[in-house]
Amino acid sequence: MRIELRKSFCFIIFIVGLISLTPDVTYAYLDAATGSIIFQAVVAVIAGASFFIRLYWKKLKVFFGSSKKVEEKKEIEIQSSTTEEKYESK
């Protein structure tokens, strides 16, 4: 649910960005393919930002409070690896 909300929020921001980025001047008559190329500049901004957010989302999550869970998880991992080591040494 939180992820969906986050996605929708980002999306609204980018729609606003899209409108402000729409080019509106000069030179040649174009076909649908060129329309796609122009549109790609907008997609690039949206995709770039969402890519960036996804890259740093985990770090942000850790920063804003999920750090406890991560620590707990680490502890469990350490415990299980020591068990494995014990098993192997036998």
Partner: protein, 460 residues
């Protein structure tokens, strides 16, 4: 000297073309493509892609042999690994299509890492080889120029994203729209057919709905200089498209045929007998390639594919084709290719002069065809007289394995339940008489434990 025949599907690209000589496929590389070809080979991209079985491997051959002194514009001639059977996107199941889309994006990613980019993203550049999708157009790579947009973005959306979204959100059968639109499904059309809820899905909203609007907006307007797109953003677009494709799901559930083998009237022993008889037919005819028509999920196709014989498992049911592909993919089956086919309206030849993409019949004849538990569906459900059925099989097969299902069989009785029996000539004797006009009956075996008969026929 020059007996090369330019391939009917290869004429749009000025960088070279595919040609056929003595039934072997070659590719001519024109001088205009020299820099890009050298970059592909020397940047390490070719090797990486071939090592990962993503691109069809090739060897360079002497162009003099093919073009003699008339080779001014020829830079190289290459002989790619031969693909046993050419299939088209409108014949693929959902997962086959999805795997093809993901492969295209993976290749574009790797190309960018190596300073190149794909200049097109056509679904026809993908073929299935050894059970997996592989990219076949060696001339699709060009040098990446900093700041440039991905020229094939629109094509990717039309050839892959739109059909997959339509299959996932509207109806899986909509991939046949690719038959009518050779350069992919127009985005405005896809946008209209897709359900409202896809407008709330950011990736589909952006790459299809808004993309379609943008195309319409700029179709007859003057615009400014194109904005530069950074390499980071370009990678982000590819990554976004990858997520969009990955998130598309289709769950194949119970159709008429999906659970077919659960409801057949074959006992286990009769089923095994049928398999044994077919195995002996395979041994006798020793085919290089088999088409199993009405293959369901490929149960009988496996009899030949497991022997290393390339087998195309055709079926009318999208669920059966999907299940067949998933099963083959899971088991790493290399010689089985499940595909969609409606035999009563088989894949037509499409594109320029109707020959750019071959029809089903033009891709034959094949060494051996299986028509198992099929005749009653064609003759009774579709009113197809025996002579018409025999005529068609004579066009596509050298050897025919066909099963005759008599009227007394419970499956035929089921077909006749709600309709008038207008088939007095649906008898074993008449069946044999009509097929003998085209075929010589080599063997006829009653399947013990059932009322059915299997035939091995050889085309006269």
């Amino acid at each position: 000297m020059n007996q090369n025949k330019q391939h009917e599907a290869s004429f749009r690209d000025n960088c070279g073309y595919v040609f056929v000589k003595d039934n072997v496929i070659y590719r001519r590389v024109n001088s205009v493509y020299k820099k890009n070809y050298d970059l592909l080979m020397e940047s390490g991209l070719y090797k990486k892609l071939v090592d990962k079985k993503m691109l069809v491997p090739h060897v360079e051959v002497d162009s003099m042999e093919f073009f003699g002194s008339d080779n001014r514009d020829v830079y190289k001639c290459i002989k790619p690994r031969q693909i046993p059977y050419i299939s088209y996107p409108y014949e693929w199941s959902f997962s086959q299509y999805k795997d093809a889309a993901i492969l295209t994006l993976e290749i574009q990613k790797m190309a960018l890492e190596n300073g190149m980019t794909l200049k097109d993203a056509s679904a026809y550049n993908i073929q299935f080889f050894e059970g997996k999708p592989v990219f076949i157009d060696t001339l699709s790579f060009e040098k990446y120029e900093k700041g440039k947009a991905w020229i094939a973005y629109q094509q990717f959306c039309q050839h892959f994203l739109a059909p997959l979204a339509l299959m996932a959100y509207t109806d899986v059968r909509l991939s046949v729209l690719m038959r009518d639109y050779i350069d992919g499904i127009p985005l405005d059309l896809a946008s209209q057919i897709l359900p409202m809820r896809t407008r709330f899905k950011p990736s589909i909203m952006m790459h299809i709905h808004m993309h379609a609007k943008s195309q319409k907006k700029y179709a007859d307007k003057k615009v400014g200089e194109q904005k530069s797109i950074s390499a980071f953003s370009l990678n982000a677009i590819i990554d976004g498209l990858q997520n969009a494709v990955q998130s598309l799901k289709w769950n194949p559930v119970g159709t008429e045929w999906g659970e077919y083998y659960t409801f057949t009237n074959y006992s286990d022993s009769a089923f095994q007998t049928k398999k044994d008889i077919i195995k002996s037919y395979i041994q006798e005819a020793n085919p290089q390639m088999v088409w199993d028509i009405g293959a369901n999920n490929g149960e009988f196709s496996a009899l030949s594919s497991e022997k290393g014989i390339f087998t195309v498992a055709y079926d009318i049911d999208s669920v059966a084709v999907e299940k067949g592909y998933l099963r083959a993919r899971e088991s790493g089956e290399k010689n089985l290719l499940p595909l969609f086919l409606d035999l009563t309206n088989p894949t037509p030849g499409i594109g320029w002069q109707n020959t750019e993409r071959s029809s089903f019949i033009d891709r034959g004849p094949v060494d051996m065809v299986y028509a198992l538990a099929l005749i009653h569906h064609i003759s009774i459900s579709h009113n197809m007289p025996f002579y018409k059925v025999a005529e068609m099989f004579a066009k596509i097969s050298k050897w025919l394995v066909i099963e005759f299902v008599p009227k007394e069989d419970s499956q035929v009785q089921k077909l006749l339940q709600n309709r008038e029996d207008i088939f007095p000539q649906y008898t074993k004797e008449y069946f044999e008489k009509e097929f003998k006009k085209y075929f010589e009956i080599h063997r006829a075996d009653k399947v013990e434990g059932s009322l059915r008969t299997l035939y091995l026929m050889k085309k006269i």
